[in-house]
Protein backbone atom coordinates (compact mmCIF):
# COMPACT_ATOMS: atom_id res chain seq x y z
CA UNK A 1 0.00 0.00 0.00
CA UNK A 2 1.24 3.44 -0.89
CA UNK A 3 2.23 5.85 1.84
CA UNK A 4 0.20 8.75 0.49
CA UNK A 5 -2.93 7.98 -1.45
CA UNK A 6 -4.89 10.65 -3.23
CA UNK A 7 -8.08 9.32 -4.76
CA UNK A 8 -10.36 11.03 -7.25
CA UNK A 9 -9.71 14.38 -5.65
CA UNK A 10 -11.75 17.30 -6.95
CA UNK A 11 -12.02 20.90 -5.99
CA UNK A 12 -14.27 23.61 -7.31
CA UNK A 13 -14.65 27.19 -6.19
CA UNK A 14 -18.25 28.00 -7.07
CA UNK A 15 -18.64 26.99 -10.69
CA UNK A 16 -14.90 26.99 -11.35
CA UNK A 17 -13.41 23.49 -11.39
CA UNK A 18 -9.86 23.96 -10.23
CA UNK A 19 -8.82 20.34 -9.68
CA UNK A 20 -10.44 17.48 -11.55
CA UNK A 21 -10.07 13.83 -10.68
CA UNK A 22 -6.60 13.87 -9.20
CA UNK A 23 -5.44 10.35 -8.49
CA UNK A 24 -1.98 9.54 -7.18
CA UNK A 25 -0.21 6.98 -5.04
CA UNK A 26 3.09 8.06 -3.52
CA UNK A 27 5.54 5.59 -2.02
CA UNK A 28 7.27 6.20 1.31
CA UNK A 29 10.37 8.34 0.83
CA UNK A 30 9.45 9.35 -2.69
CA UNK A 31 10.08 12.86 -4.02
CA UNK A 32 7.17 13.92 -6.24
CA UNK A 33 6.88 17.17 -8.18
CA UNK A 34 3.69 18.81 -9.35
CA UNK A 35 4.67 20.63 -12.52
CA UNK A 36 2.47 22.93 -14.54
CA UNK A 37 1.86 26.53 -15.57
CA UNK A 38 0.54 29.11 -13.14
CA UNK A 39 -3.13 28.63 -12.32
CA UNK A 40 -3.29 24.92 -13.21
CA UNK A 41 -4.26 23.88 -9.68
CA UNK A 42 -0.94 22.74 -8.19
CA UNK A 43 -1.21 24.86 -5.07
CA UNK A 44 -4.85 23.97 -4.56
CA UNK A 45 -4.04 20.25 -4.71
CA UNK A 46 -1.16 20.69 -2.28
CA UNK A 47 -3.35 22.74 0.06
CA UNK A 48 -5.92 19.95 0.11
CA UNK A 49 -3.19 17.53 1.18
CA UNK A 50 -2.12 20.01 3.86
CA UNK A 51 -5.71 20.51 4.98
CA UNK A 52 -6.05 24.20 4.12
CA UNK A 53 -8.73 23.49 1.52
CA UNK A 54 -11.56 20.98 1.81
CA UNK A 55 -11.89 18.75 -1.25
CA UNK A 56 -15.19 18.90 -3.11
CA UNK A 57 -14.87 15.14 -3.61
CA UNK A 58 -12.33 12.38 -3.18
CA UNK A 59 -10.14 11.07 -0.39
CA UNK A 60 -6.64 11.58 0.98
CA UNK A 61 -4.90 8.93 3.08
CA UNK A 62 -1.55 9.36 4.77
CA UNK A 63 0.09 6.19 6.04
CA UNK A 64 -3.21 4.35 5.85
CA UNK A 65 -5.13 6.97 7.81
CA UNK A 66 -7.93 8.90 6.14
CA UNK A 67 -7.22 12.61 6.68
CA UNK A 68 -9.66 14.02 4.14
CA UNK A 69 -11.62 15.81 6.86
CA UNK A 70 -8.81 16.31 9.37
CA UNK A 71 -7.80 19.83 10.42
CA UNK A 72 -4.40 21.06 9.20
CA UNK A 73 -2.98 21.14 12.73
CA UNK A 74 -3.81 17.47 13.21
CA UNK A 75 -2.20 16.06 10.08
CA UNK A 76 1.46 16.31 11.00
CA UNK A 77 2.32 17.55 7.54
CA UNK A 78 5.21 20.00 7.16
CA UNK A 79 4.77 22.91 4.80
CA UNK A 80 7.29 25.25 3.17
CA UNK A 81 5.89 28.36 1.52
CA UNK A 82 7.19 30.50 -1.32
CA UNK A 83 7.27 33.52 1.00
CA UNK A 84 9.18 31.60 3.75
CA UNK A 85 6.53 32.63 6.32
CA UNK A 86 8.94 32.70 9.24
CA UNK A 87 7.43 34.28 12.36
CA UNK A 88 8.96 37.78 12.39
CA UNK A 89 8.69 38.17 16.17
CA UNK A 90 10.72 35.05 16.94
CA UNK A 91 14.39 34.24 16.66
CA UNK A 92 15.56 31.58 14.25
CA UNK A 93 15.86 29.07 17.09
CA UNK A 94 12.34 29.91 18.31
CA UNK A 95 11.00 29.56 14.80
CA UNK A 96 12.55 26.13 14.39
CA UNK A 97 11.37 25.08 17.84
CA UNK A 98 7.83 26.43 17.45
CA UNK A 99 6.19 23.16 16.47
CA UNK A 100 7.88 21.32 19.34
CA UNK A 101 6.77 23.98 21.84
CA UNK A 102 3.22 23.73 20.56
CA UNK A 103 3.45 19.98 21.05
CA UNK A 104 4.56 20.59 24.64
CA UNK A 105 7.98 18.89 24.37
CA UNK A 106 10.43 19.42 27.24
CA UNK A 107 12.79 22.39 26.88
CA UNK A 108 15.94 20.27 26.78
CA UNK A 109 14.61 18.16 23.94
CA UNK A 110 13.57 21.27 22.00
CA UNK A 111 17.00 22.78 22.43
CA UNK A 112 18.87 19.76 21.17
CA UNK A 113 16.46 19.19 18.29
CA UNK A 114 16.77 22.85 17.23
CA UNK A 115 20.55 22.54 17.24
CA UNK A 116 20.34 19.37 15.23
CA UNK A 117 18.08 21.03 12.66
CA UNK A 118 20.26 24.14 12.39
CA UNK A 119 23.25 21.89 11.79
CA UNK A 120 21.28 20.03 9.13
CA UNK A 121 20.66 23.24 7.18
CA UNK A 122 24.26 24.35 7.83
CA UNK A 123 23.31 27.49 9.78
CA UNK A 124 24.38 26.43 13.30
CA UNK A 125 25.53 29.96 14.23
CA UNK A 126 22.32 31.81 13.45
CA UNK A 127 19.92 30.58 16.14
CA UNK A 128 19.85 33.92 17.94
CA UNK A 129 19.16 36.07 14.90
CA UNK A 130 15.80 37.30 13.68
CA UNK A 131 14.38 36.38 10.27
CA UNK A 132 14.83 39.86 8.81
CA UNK A 133 18.57 39.61 9.47
CA UNK A 134 18.89 36.64 7.10
CA UNK A 135 19.07 36.43 3.31
CA UNK A 136 16.19 34.90 1.38
CA UNK A 137 18.04 31.63 0.85
CA UNK A 138 18.90 31.37 4.54
CA UNK A 139 15.31 32.15 5.52
CA UNK A 140 14.00 29.42 3.28
CA UNK A 141 16.44 26.92 4.80
CA UNK A 142 15.20 27.92 8.25
CA UNK A 143 11.63 27.42 7.05
CA UNK A 144 12.64 23.95 5.90
CA UNK A 145 14.23 23.20 9.28
CA UNK A 146 11.12 24.48 11.07
CA UNK A 147 8.88 22.20 9.01
CA UNK A 148 11.16 19.20 9.58
CA UNK A 149 11.77 19.73 13.30
CA UNK A 150 8.47 18.09 14.28
CA UNK A 151 9.28 15.00 12.18
CA UNK A 152 6.27 15.31 9.89
CA UNK A 153 4.98 12.36 7.92
CA UNK A 154 4.96 14.42 4.77
CA UNK A 155 6.85 17.47 3.56
CA UNK A 156 5.01 19.82 1.20
CA UNK A 157 6.86 22.58 -0.63
CA UNK A 158 4.99 25.19 -2.66
CA UNK A 159 7.37 26.86 -5.11
CA UNK A 160 9.92 27.28 -2.32
CA UNK A 161 12.61 28.73 -4.57
CA UNK A 162 10.59 31.10 -6.74
CA UNK A 163 11.52 34.17 -4.74
CA UNK A 164 15.27 33.48 -4.90
CA UNK A 165 18.08 34.32 -7.34
CA UNK A 166 18.87 31.82 -10.08
CA UNK A 167 22.22 30.78 -8.57
CA UNK A 168 20.81 30.11 -5.11
CA UNK A 169 17.84 28.33 -6.65
CA UNK A 170 20.08 25.71 -8.20
CA UNK A 171 22.21 25.08 -5.11
CA UNK A 172 19.28 25.13 -2.70
CA UNK A 173 17.22 22.67 -4.71
CA UNK A 174 20.08 20.19 -4.54
CA UNK A 175 20.30 20.80 -0.81
CA UNK A 176 16.57 20.24 -0.34
CA UNK A 177 16.79 17.01 -2.28
CA UNK A 178 19.81 15.85 -0.30
CA UNK A 179 18.15 16.56 3.07
CA UNK A 180 14.99 14.80 1.88
CA UNK A 181 17.06 11.72 0.94
CA UNK A 182 18.99 11.84 4.19
CA UNK A 183 15.81 11.87 6.28
CA UNK A 184 13.93 9.54 3.96
CA UNK A 185 10.90 11.80 4.18
CA UNK A 186 8.12 11.68 1.60
CA UNK A 187 7.93 15.02 -0.21
CA UNK A 188 5.71 16.84 -2.67
CA UNK A 189 7.30 19.73 -4.45
CA UNK A 190 5.25 22.23 -6.44
CA UNK A 191 6.96 24.14 -9.23
CA UNK A 192 6.29 25.72 -12.60
CA UNK A 193 9.95 25.33 -13.55
CA UNK A 194 10.42 22.20 -15.67
CA UNK A 195 14.18 22.15 -15.19
CA UNK A 196 13.70 22.18 -11.42
CA UNK A 197 11.19 19.33 -11.57
CA UNK A 198 13.30 17.26 -13.95
CA UNK A 199 16.48 17.67 -11.93
CA UNK A 200 15.27 16.68 -8.45
CA UNK A 201 12.18 14.47 -8.68
CA UNK A 202 11.68 10.74 -8.45
CA UNK A 203 8.45 11.25 -10.33
CA UNK A 204 6.71 14.22 -11.86
CA UNK A 205 2.98 14.92 -12.14
CA UNK A 206 2.46 17.27 -15.06
CA UNK A 207 -0.74 19.27 -14.64
CA UNK A 208 -2.76 21.49 -16.91
CA UNK A 209 -6.06 23.21 -16.21
CA UNK A 210 -6.76 21.15 -13.13
CA UNK A 211 -6.08 17.82 -14.82
CA UNK A 212 -3.18 15.41 -14.49
CA UNK A 213 -1.63 15.22 -17.92
CA UNK A 214 1.02 12.63 -17.22
CA UNK A 215 2.75 10.97 -14.27
CA UNK A 216 6.22 9.53 -14.72
CA UNK A 217 9.92 9.68 -14.01
CA UNK A 218 11.79 12.69 -15.39
CA UNK A 219 13.20 10.37 -18.06
CA UNK A 220 9.74 9.25 -19.15
CA UNK A 221 8.22 12.69 -19.04
CA UNK A 222 11.00 14.24 -21.06
CA UNK A 223 11.51 11.52 -23.61
CA UNK A 224 8.02 10.15 -23.97
CA UNK A 225 5.52 12.95 -23.45
CA UNK A 226 2.06 11.55 -23.95
CA UNK A 227 0.14 14.70 -24.72
CA UNK A 228 0.75 17.77 -26.78
CA UNK A 229 0.65 19.80 -23.58
CA UNK A 230 3.36 17.80 -21.83
CA UNK A 231 5.44 17.84 -24.99
CA UNK A 232 5.33 21.60 -25.27
CA UNK A 233 5.61 22.36 -21.55
CA UNK A 234 8.51 20.06 -20.70
CA UNK A 235 11.63 20.99 -22.60
CA UNK A 236 11.64 22.71 -25.96
CA UNK A 237 9.77 20.35 -28.13
CA UNK A 238 8.86 20.80 -31.76
CA UNK A 239 5.21 20.02 -32.28
CA UNK A 240 4.27 19.46 -35.93
CA UNK A 241 1.02 18.81 -37.69
CA UNK A 242 1.22 15.65 -39.71
CA UNK A 243 -1.33 13.97 -41.96
CA UNK A 244 -1.80 10.23 -41.60
CA UNK A 245 -1.16 8.39 -44.88
CA UNK A 246 -1.15 4.81 -43.68
CA UNK A 247 -1.71 3.35 -40.18
CA UNK A 248 1.52 1.34 -40.55
CA UNK A 249 3.41 4.54 -39.68
CA UNK A 250 3.45 6.70 -42.80
CA UNK A 251 2.68 10.39 -42.49
CA UNK A 252 3.30 13.58 -44.38
CA UNK A 253 4.53 16.88 -42.98
CA UNK A 254 3.79 19.80 -45.30
CA UNK A 255 3.49 17.30 -48.12
CA UNK A 256 6.85 15.60 -47.50
CA UNK A 257 6.75 11.93 -46.46
CA UNK A 258 7.99 10.85 -43.02
CA UNK A 259 7.74 7.62 -41.06
CA UNK A 260 7.34 6.96 -37.37
CA UNK A 261 8.09 3.92 -35.26
CA UNK A 262 4.93 4.64 -33.23
CA UNK A 263 1.73 2.76 -33.93
CA UNK A 264 -0.93 4.78 -35.61
CA UNK A 265 -3.67 2.50 -34.32
CA UNK A 266 -6.96 4.25 -34.03
CA UNK A 267 -6.15 6.86 -36.63
CA UNK A 268 -7.65 7.12 -40.08
CA UNK A 269 -5.81 8.01 -43.28
CA UNK A 270 -6.21 11.71 -44.02
CA UNK A 271 -6.50 12.63 -40.36
CA UNK A 272 -4.28 15.44 -39.04
CA UNK A 273 -2.29 14.47 -35.91
CA UNK A 274 0.25 16.20 -33.67
CA UNK A 275 3.72 14.73 -33.66
CA UNK A 276 6.70 15.86 -31.60
CA UNK A 277 10.43 16.07 -32.13
CA UNK A 278 13.12 17.02 -29.60
CA UNK A 279 15.57 19.65 -30.90
CA UNK A 280 18.49 17.41 -29.97
CA UNK A 281 17.07 14.53 -32.04
CA UNK A 282 17.16 16.53 -35.27
CA UNK A 283 20.36 17.03 -37.21
CA UNK A 284 21.33 19.22 -40.12
CA UNK A 285 23.37 16.50 -41.79
CA UNK A 286 21.83 14.32 -44.47
CA UNK A 287 21.63 10.82 -43.01
CA UNK A 288 21.31 7.19 -44.11
CA UNK A 289 18.25 5.69 -45.78
CA UNK A 290 16.44 4.59 -42.64
CA UNK A 291 16.09 8.13 -41.27
CA UNK A 292 13.49 10.72 -42.09
CA UNK A 293 14.45 13.70 -44.21
CA UNK A 294 12.71 17.03 -44.59
CA UNK A 295 13.70 19.87 -46.90
CA UNK A 296 13.26 23.43 -45.76
CA UNK A 297 14.71 26.91 -45.32
CA UNK A 298 16.70 28.30 -42.39
CA UNK A 299 14.42 30.82 -40.72
CA UNK A 300 16.40 31.77 -37.64
CA UNK A 301 19.79 31.09 -36.06
CA UNK A 302 20.38 31.66 -32.33
CA UNK A 303 23.85 31.34 -30.97
CA UNK A 304 23.57 30.00 -27.40
CA UNK A 305 27.26 29.36 -26.68
CA UNK A 306 28.16 25.71 -26.82
CA UNK A 307 24.96 25.06 -28.75
CA UNK A 308 23.56 26.74 -31.84
CA UNK A 309 19.79 26.55 -32.22
CA UNK A 310 18.54 26.72 -35.79
CA UNK A 311 14.92 26.98 -36.89
CA UNK A 312 14.04 25.45 -40.22
CA UNK A 313 10.68 26.06 -41.88
CA UNK A 314 9.04 23.60 -44.25
CA UNK A 315 5.74 25.34 -44.91
CA UNK A 316 3.11 25.49 -42.22
CA UNK A 317 5.48 23.64 -39.87
CA UNK A 318 8.93 24.48 -38.56
CA UNK A 319 11.41 22.68 -36.29
CA UNK A 320 14.13 23.97 -34.01
CA UNK A 321 17.24 21.86 -33.90
CA UNK A 322 20.38 22.04 -31.81
CA UNK A 323 23.90 21.64 -33.18
CA UNK A 324 27.09 21.90 -31.21
CA UNK A 325 29.11 25.00 -31.87
CA UNK A 326 32.25 24.26 -33.91
CA UNK A 327 34.63 27.19 -34.26
CA UNK A 328 35.69 25.94 -37.69
CA UNK A 329 32.15 25.74 -39.08
CA UNK A 330 30.07 28.93 -38.96
CA UNK A 331 26.30 28.34 -38.72
CA UNK A 332 24.24 28.62 -41.93
CA UNK A 333 22.80 31.97 -42.96
CA UNK A 334 19.09 32.69 -42.82
CA UNK A 335 17.35 31.76 -46.05
CA UNK A 336 19.73 28.88 -46.83
CA UNK A 337 18.02 25.78 -48.22
CA UNK A 338 18.81 22.81 -45.98
CA UNK A 339 17.83 19.21 -45.36
CA UNK A 340 17.21 18.01 -41.79
CA UNK A 341 17.14 14.41 -40.69
CA UNK A 342 15.93 12.47 -37.66
CA UNK A 343 15.41 8.86 -36.66
CA UNK A 344 12.01 7.22 -37.04
CA UNK A 345 11.64 6.60 -33.34
CA UNK A 346 12.40 10.23 -32.55
CA UNK A 347 9.07 11.17 -34.04
CA UNK A 348 6.48 10.90 -31.24
CA UNK A 349 2.78 10.68 -31.76
CA UNK A 350 0.82 12.80 -29.27
CA UNK A 351 -2.64 12.03 -27.88
CA UNK A 352 -5.62 13.83 -29.33
CA UNK A 353 -6.08 15.32 -32.75
CA UNK A 354 -4.30 18.46 -33.79
CA UNK A 355 -7.34 20.72 -34.09
Amino acid sequence: MAFLEIEHLRKSFGTLNVVEDFDLAVARGEFISFLGPSGCGKTTTLRMVAGFETPSAGAIRIDGKDVTEAKPNQRNVGMVFQSYALFPNMTIADNVGFGLRVAGRPAAEIKSRVEEMLALIKLPQLGGRYPYQLSGGQQQRVALARALAVKPKLLLLDEPLSALDAKIRVSLRQEIRQIQRELGITAIYVTHDQEEALSISDRIVVMSQGRMEQVGTPFEIYNYPRTRFVASFVGTLNVLKAQVVDVSGKLTVDGQPVATAAHLDGTRPGEIRSVALRPEAVSLADADGESNRLHGTVEEVSFLGSVVRIRVRFGENAVSLDTFNKPSVPPPDRGTKVTVSFARDALLLLDGDAT
Binding site: A50, G51, F52, K71, P72, N73, Q74, R75, N76, V77, G78, M79, F81, S83, Y84, A85, L86, F87, P88, N89, F98, G99, V102, A103, Y130, P131, Y132, G136, Q139, A143, R146, A147, V150, A163
Partner: protein
Protein backbone atom coordinates in the same frame (compact mmCIF):
# COMPACT_ATOMS: atom_id res chain seq x y z
CA UNK B 1 18.23 71.82 -9.35
CA UNK B 2 18.68 74.00 -6.28
CA UNK B 3 15.12 75.27 -6.35
CA UNK B 4 13.72 71.74 -6.26
CA UNK B 5 15.58 71.14 -3.02
CA UNK B 6 14.57 74.42 -1.40
CA UNK B 7 10.84 73.83 -2.00
CA UNK B 8 10.41 70.99 0.50
CA UNK B 9 12.41 72.86 3.12
CA UNK B 10 10.16 75.89 2.80
CA UNK B 11 7.12 73.65 3.13
CA UNK B 12 8.62 71.99 6.18
CA UNK B 13 9.46 75.36 7.71
CA UNK B 14 5.94 76.73 7.16
CA UNK B 15 4.42 73.55 8.51
CA UNK B 16 6.59 73.72 11.60
CA UNK B 17 5.67 77.36 12.16
CA UNK B 18 2.01 76.47 11.82
CA UNK B 19 2.25 73.96 14.65
CA UNK B 20 4.96 75.47 16.82
CA UNK B 21 3.95 79.12 17.02
CA UNK B 22 0.54 78.59 18.69
CA UNK B 23 2.14 76.10 21.02
CA UNK B 24 4.86 78.52 22.09
CA UNK B 25 2.33 81.32 22.41
CA UNK B 26 0.09 79.14 24.56
CA UNK B 27 3.00 78.10 26.73
CA UNK B 28 4.20 81.66 27.11
CA UNK B 29 0.73 82.80 28.07
CA UNK B 30 0.33 79.99 30.61
CA UNK B 31 3.38 81.32 32.47
CA UNK B 32 1.98 84.82 32.96
CA UNK B 33 -0.38 84.30 35.85
CA UNK B 34 1.87 86.22 38.22
CA UNK B 35 2.07 89.87 37.28
CA UNK B 36 5.34 91.01 35.76
CA UNK B 37 7.25 87.71 35.84
CA UNK B 38 7.03 84.19 34.48
CA UNK B 39 5.87 81.49 36.84
CA UNK B 40 4.22 78.08 36.92
CA UNK B 41 1.40 79.34 39.13
CA UNK B 42 -1.26 78.42 36.60
CA UNK B 43 0.03 74.84 36.59
CA UNK B 44 0.07 74.71 40.36
CA UNK B 45 -3.52 75.91 40.48
CA UNK B 46 -4.63 73.40 37.88
CA UNK B 47 -2.82 70.43 39.37
CA UNK B 48 -4.04 71.26 42.86
CA UNK B 49 -7.64 71.44 41.71
CA UNK B 50 -9.48 68.38 43.04
CA UNK B 51 -11.80 68.44 40.02
CA UNK B 52 -8.79 68.19 37.71
CA UNK B 53 -7.56 65.11 39.51
CA UNK B 54 -11.01 63.55 39.65
CA UNK B 55 -11.96 64.19 36.02
CA UNK B 56 -8.54 63.27 34.67
CA UNK B 57 -8.57 60.06 36.69
CA UNK B 58 -12.08 59.26 35.54
CA UNK B 59 -11.27 59.83 31.89
CA UNK B 60 -8.05 57.83 32.14
CA UNK B 61 -9.92 54.89 33.65
CA UNK B 62 -12.53 55.08 30.92
CA UNK B 63 -9.82 55.35 28.29
CA UNK B 64 -8.27 52.10 29.51
CA UNK B 65 -11.65 50.38 29.52
CA UNK B 66 -12.27 51.68 26.01
CA UNK B 67 -8.90 50.39 24.84
CA UNK B 68 -9.51 46.93 26.28
CA UNK B 69 -12.98 46.64 24.75
CA UNK B 70 -11.75 48.13 21.47
CA UNK B 71 -8.78 45.76 21.16
CA UNK B 72 -10.91 42.71 21.97
CA UNK B 73 -13.44 43.81 19.39
CA UNK B 74 -11.14 45.00 16.63
CA UNK B 75 -8.16 42.61 16.61
CA UNK B 76 -10.12 39.37 16.10
CA UNK B 77 -12.47 41.09 13.63
CA UNK B 78 -9.68 42.60 11.54
CA UNK B 79 -7.75 39.32 11.70
CA UNK B 80 -10.72 37.31 10.52
CA UNK B 81 -11.51 39.75 7.73
CA UNK B 82 -7.90 39.60 6.55
CA UNK B 83 -7.78 35.84 6.79
CA UNK B 84 -11.13 34.63 5.54
CA UNK B 85 -13.26 37.49 4.28
CA UNK B 86 -10.98 39.78 2.27
CA UNK B 87 -13.90 40.58 -0.01
CA UNK B 88 -15.74 42.09 2.96
CA UNK B 89 -12.89 44.46 3.68
CA UNK B 90 -14.46 47.50 1.91
CA UNK B 91 -17.73 46.91 3.74
CA UNK B 92 -16.05 46.65 7.14
CA UNK B 93 -13.92 49.67 6.36
CA UNK B 94 -17.03 51.66 5.48
CA UNK B 95 -18.71 50.61 8.72
CA UNK B 96 -15.68 51.57 10.80
CA UNK B 97 -15.63 54.97 9.11
CA UNK B 98 -19.25 55.76 9.97
CA UNK B 99 -18.40 57.31 13.36
CA UNK B 100 -16.44 59.97 11.48
CA UNK B 101 -19.49 60.81 9.40
CA UNK B 102 -22.10 60.66 12.15
CA UNK B 103 -21.60 63.51 14.65
CA UNK B 104 -21.17 62.48 18.28
CA UNK B 105 -24.23 64.51 19.16
CA UNK B 106 -26.39 62.36 16.88
CA UNK B 107 -24.86 59.26 18.42
CA UNK B 108 -25.59 60.34 21.97
CA UNK B 109 -29.16 61.32 21.16
CA UNK B 110 -29.60 57.90 19.67
CA UNK B 111 -28.21 56.34 22.83
CA UNK B 112 -30.46 58.41 25.04
CA UNK B 113 -33.46 57.40 22.98
CA UNK B 114 -32.70 53.70 23.05
CA UNK B 115 -31.25 53.32 26.54
CA UNK B 116 -33.18 55.94 28.57
CA UNK B 117 -34.59 55.01 31.93
CA UNK B 118 -37.97 54.05 30.45
CA UNK B 119 -36.56 51.82 27.71
CA UNK B 120 -36.24 48.03 27.71
CA UNK B 121 -32.51 48.40 28.46
CA UNK B 122 -32.25 51.38 30.84
CA UNK B 123 -28.49 51.92 30.75
CA UNK B 124 -28.75 55.50 31.93
CA UNK B 125 -30.55 54.50 35.11
CA UNK B 126 -27.41 54.07 37.21
CA UNK B 127 -24.00 55.69 37.12
CA UNK B 128 -22.09 52.43 36.53
CA UNK B 129 -24.35 51.50 33.61
CA UNK B 130 -23.94 54.98 32.18
CA UNK B 131 -20.17 54.60 32.44
CA UNK B 132 -20.51 51.38 30.49
CA UNK B 133 -22.64 53.11 27.87
CA UNK B 134 -20.06 55.90 27.68
CA UNK B 135 -17.28 53.33 27.22
CA UNK B 136 -19.15 51.72 24.36
CA UNK B 137 -19.73 55.17 22.88
CA UNK B 138 -16.00 55.85 23.09
CA UNK B 139 -15.24 52.50 21.45
CA UNK B 140 -17.47 53.59 18.59
CA UNK B 141 -15.81 57.00 18.32
CA UNK B 142 -12.33 55.47 18.37
CA UNK B 143 -13.27 52.65 15.97
CA UNK B 144 -12.03 54.33 12.78
CA UNK B 145 -8.59 54.91 14.31
CA UNK B 146 -8.27 51.62 16.14
CA UNK B 147 -9.45 49.58 13.16
CA UNK B 148 -7.18 51.39 10.72
CA UNK B 149 -4.15 51.01 12.95
CA UNK B 150 -4.72 47.30 13.53
CA UNK B 151 -5.63 46.64 9.90
CA UNK B 152 -2.44 48.36 8.73
CA UNK B 153 -0.45 46.25 11.16
CA UNK B 154 -2.09 43.07 9.89
CA UNK B 155 -1.49 44.03 6.28
CA UNK B 156 2.19 44.56 6.96
CA UNK B 157 2.52 40.87 7.80
CA UNK B 158 1.32 37.99 5.65
CA UNK B 159 -1.53 36.98 7.96
CA UNK B 160 -2.76 34.08 5.91
CA UNK B 161 0.57 32.38 5.31
CA UNK B 162 1.74 32.92 8.90
CA UNK B 163 -1.51 31.41 10.14
CA UNK B 164 -1.12 28.42 7.85
CA UNK B 165 2.52 27.97 8.78
CA UNK B 166 1.52 27.88 12.44
CA UNK B 167 -1.38 25.51 11.73
CA UNK B 168 0.83 23.09 9.84
CA UNK B 169 3.11 23.05 12.89
CA UNK B 170 0.19 21.93 15.02
CA UNK B 171 -0.93 25.25 16.52
CA UNK B 172 -4.59 25.89 17.41
CA UNK B 173 -6.41 29.23 17.29
CA UNK B 174 -5.42 30.59 20.74
CA UNK B 175 -1.74 29.86 20.06
CA UNK B 176 -1.95 31.45 16.62
CA UNK B 177 -3.69 34.58 17.92
CA UNK B 178 -1.58 35.15 21.02
CA UNK B 179 1.84 33.80 19.99
CA UNK B 180 1.94 34.60 16.30
CA UNK B 181 -0.52 37.33 15.29
CA UNK B 182 -0.72 39.62 18.31
CA UNK B 183 3.07 39.91 18.89
CA UNK B 184 3.46 40.92 15.26
CA UNK B 185 0.86 43.67 15.43
CA UNK B 186 1.77 44.85 18.92
CA UNK B 187 3.02 48.21 17.75
CA UNK B 188 -0.08 48.74 15.61
CA UNK B 189 -2.33 47.86 18.55
CA UNK B 190 -0.37 50.27 20.75
CA UNK B 191 -0.68 53.12 18.33
CA UNK B 192 -4.41 52.42 18.09
CA UNK B 193 -4.53 52.44 21.88
CA UNK B 194 -2.71 55.74 22.00
CA UNK B 195 -5.11 57.35 19.54
CA UNK B 196 -8.02 56.00 21.56
CA UNK B 197 -6.52 57.48 24.70
CA UNK B 198 -6.13 60.89 23.05
CA UNK B 199 -9.73 60.81 21.80
CA UNK B 200 -11.22 59.76 25.13
CA UNK B 201 -9.23 62.30 27.18
CA UNK B 202 -10.43 65.21 25.08
CA UNK B 203 -13.97 64.03 24.30
CA UNK B 204 -16.69 66.46 25.32
CA UNK B 205 -20.06 65.74 23.72
CA UNK B 206 -20.79 62.22 24.91
CA UNK B 207 -19.60 62.83 28.44
CA UNK B 208 -21.42 66.14 28.78
CA UNK B 209 -24.74 64.86 27.48
CA UNK B 210 -24.56 61.67 29.52
CA UNK B 211 -23.64 63.95 32.43
CA UNK B 212 -20.49 62.13 33.54
CA UNK B 213 -17.56 63.86 35.31
CA UNK B 214 -15.02 63.49 32.49
CA UNK B 215 -12.01 65.61 31.61
CA UNK B 216 -13.55 67.09 28.45
CA UNK B 217 -16.42 68.87 30.18
CA UNK B 218 -13.97 70.03 32.88
CA UNK B 219 -11.69 71.55 30.20
CA UNK B 220 -14.67 73.35 28.77
CA UNK B 221 -15.72 74.64 32.17
CA UNK B 222 -12.26 75.99 32.98
CA UNK B 223 -11.86 77.39 29.46
CA UNK B 224 -15.05 79.35 29.79
CA UNK B 225 -14.29 80.77 33.24
CA UNK B 226 -10.54 81.28 33.65
CA UNK B 227 -7.77 83.08 31.83
CA UNK B 228 -4.43 81.33 32.37
CA UNK B 229 -5.40 77.87 33.53
CA UNK B 230 -6.82 76.70 30.17
CA UNK B 231 -3.44 77.35 28.56
CA UNK B 232 -1.71 75.40 31.29
CA UNK B 233 -4.19 72.57 30.77
CA UNK B 234 -3.56 72.59 27.04
CA UNK B 235 0.18 72.30 27.63
CA UNK B 236 -0.37 69.47 30.12
CA UNK B 237 -2.52 67.67 27.56
CA UNK B 238 0.29 68.03 25.02
CA UNK B 239 2.75 66.69 27.52
CA UNK B 240 0.60 63.60 28.10
CA UNK B 241 0.25 63.07 24.36
CA UNK B 242 3.98 63.31 23.78
CA UNK B 243 4.71 60.98 26.62
CA UNK B 244 2.42 58.42 24.99
CA UNK B 245 4.18 58.85 21.66
CA UNK B 246 7.57 58.44 23.25
CA UNK B 247 6.42 55.27 24.97
CA UNK B 248 5.12 53.84 21.71
CA UNK B 249 8.46 54.52 20.07
CA UNK B 250 10.35 52.85 22.89
CA UNK B 251 8.10 49.79 22.77
CA UNK B 252 8.26 49.72 19.00
CA UNK B 253 12.03 49.75 18.95
CA UNK B 254 12.35 47.15 21.67
CA UNK B 255 10.14 44.67 19.82
CA UNK B 256 10.81 43.09 16.48
CA UNK B 257 7.14 42.98 15.71
CA UNK B 258 7.10 45.36 12.78
CA UNK B 259 9.77 43.97 10.53
CA UNK B 260 8.85 43.90 6.88
CA UNK B 261 7.40 40.68 5.56
CA UNK B 262 9.45 38.42 3.36
CA UNK B 263 9.29 39.21 -0.36
Amino acid sequence: MKRAKIGPWIALFLGTLYFIVPLIATFEFSLRMRRGEYSFDAYAVVLADARFQATFGYSTALAFATIVVGVLLVVPTAYWVNLRLPKLRPVIEFITLLPLVIPAIVLVFGYLRIYNSESWLPMTSSERLTDLLLTFGYVTLALPYMYRAVDNGLRAIDVRTLTEAAQSLGAGWPTILFRVILPNVRVAVLSGAFLTFAIVIGEFTLAALLDRPAFGPYLQLIGANRAYEPSALAIIAFGVTWACMGLINVVGRASHGQTPKAP
